[in-house]
Amino acid sequence: MFDKSVAELSRALSTKQVSAVDLATVYLNRIERHKGLNAFLDVRPDVTLRQARAADQRIARGDGTPLTGVPIAHKDIFVTREFASTASSRMLKGYMSPFDATVVEKLGQAGMVTLGKLNCDEFAMGSSNENSHYGNVLNPWDKDAVPGGSSGGSAAAVAARIAPAATATDTGGSIREPAAFSGVTGIKPTYGRASRWGMIAFASSLDQAGIMTCSAEDAALIFNGMLGFDPKDSTSVERAAEDYTRHLQTDLKGLRIGVPKQFFGSGLQPDVEHAVREALAEYTRLGAKLMDISLPNAALGIPVYYVIAPAECSSNLSRFDGVRYGHRAEHYADLDDMIKKSRAEGFGPETRRRILIGTYVLSHGYYDAYYIQAQKVRRIIANEFQDAFQACDVIAGPVTTSVAFGFGEKAADPVAMYLSDLYTIPGSLAGIPAMSIPCGFGTRKRPVGLQLMANYFEEAKLLGVAHQYQLATDWHRRMPPGT
């Protein structure tokens, strides 16, 4: 059963070909077998099987949803009552949340069965998953390669089919980049679509929850249970519920695909460019028209992001003081010393670095020059997307400049690591829905992702455009060797 999509599992459950308990058992065994990937941080079979039994009872009573009994794993950025919630940080080791994140709660109410919590970069800061306090996640396609980050555990788990779906979060590309590196489908919705309540905060004006699956169709099914207005999140968007599967069967005749020339510059590796151009050619065979567009200031996304994200991070992470929860140093002189030592010990190097950048750009005398200036350039970039969407329906291009890199290759050079988010950051800054779908393989048989972006609230259209490609190709069905 492990090679089945969410859509197929849903049908098998509702027609009683398989029970939720059987399915949960299959995946729990697979998690155990692929423990070496280090994708999971917390697995509690008793909790999972209890949820699965409840799902079976619901299906027997006939009041299930299409998601009832389908297993899912959650990135360890979402707080959960029944599994530890650590944000992959030493700071939150063993933390048991008094409540579930809204996303977790909604998917639970739909009947999804939680397999456990997934490794990620500490507080979702990173592009390779090397910033986790709990060790690296391996890329199932090539154990020498990073799975991408920050949602590396989510990507690896779906790629290795040890979870049919996994929640993830995006701040500057943390869903699309690992989805591309690990060869799975990953989508972030419009900012404000998914509740941020219970998502451990990194950069609040950018953070957005999304999903990783084996296909766009699966992502659409899960979005139906996952997204929606939440009064507990002050930036949640009030809009009527919608069916995200409604455009899956819409054909692509006449679809205008904008191809930004800035995404095909000198930094783009030839293997990635080749796979992406092939995918674009496939789209023309499906009836779409390609058109050149320009996002002139897209490259400024990186400096904008590395002001805004650290600024908001330094503010959000000030709550960790070793008083109410989290790590507390063993020896200290007084309260201030206790807080300083607890934070120095509890946070890893990248988190400390970003807190310091953020503290500086928000400090007296620099706020306007850095933070406000970055917010203004952010608007320039967002406006360029609006200009582009005057002429095209969706935007397509590469997700990353290269296939997955090796462990340690960029770990010592923060700036080189930051540049790996060149193509994903602009969409995050604008707050538009964006996704990555598998479109081939590059150097050393490592996966390549195709990035698709649409305008605000056009997730259904975006998922349809991806699904039509997946009907015509089988890249998304390929599994890593040894799966």
């Binding site: 008083v323 109410r324 790590h327 604008a430």
Partner: protein
């Protein structure tokens, strides 16, 4: 503009993160590289552009100011590094 090690010490104090001398030197090099990247923004003409704090604009919604029971005390207190009688323990702050 380049940071100095005393800037790093000051920022680390503001951020309440203890930092050793060796860490300060390493951090200084890394922060200066990052700020070289960030400095590109100073050259952008942003006259007449409004800062963007939320992708969809608008103001933040306010809820009714009513008391509500959110959770039980025990489930909150169980994560405290040190507590006594339902209170968080901290080092003495008032002599």
């Amino acid at each position: 503009m380049a940071l100095t090690s005393s800037d790093v010490t000051r920022i680390a104090h503001l951020a309440r993160i203890e930092i050793t001398e060796a860490q300060t030197e390493q951090m200084l090099v890394q922060l200066n590289e990052i700020f070289r990247l960030i400095e590109q923004l100073q050259a952008v003409d942003t006259n007449g552009i409004d800062p963007m704090s939320h992708p969809l604009g608008g103001s933040q919604r306010l809820r009714e100011d009513v008391a509500a029971e959110h959770t039980d005390r025990e489930s909150v207190m169980r994560n405290a590094p040190a507590s006594q009688d339902g209170l968080f323990l901290v080092p003495k702050v008032i002599e």
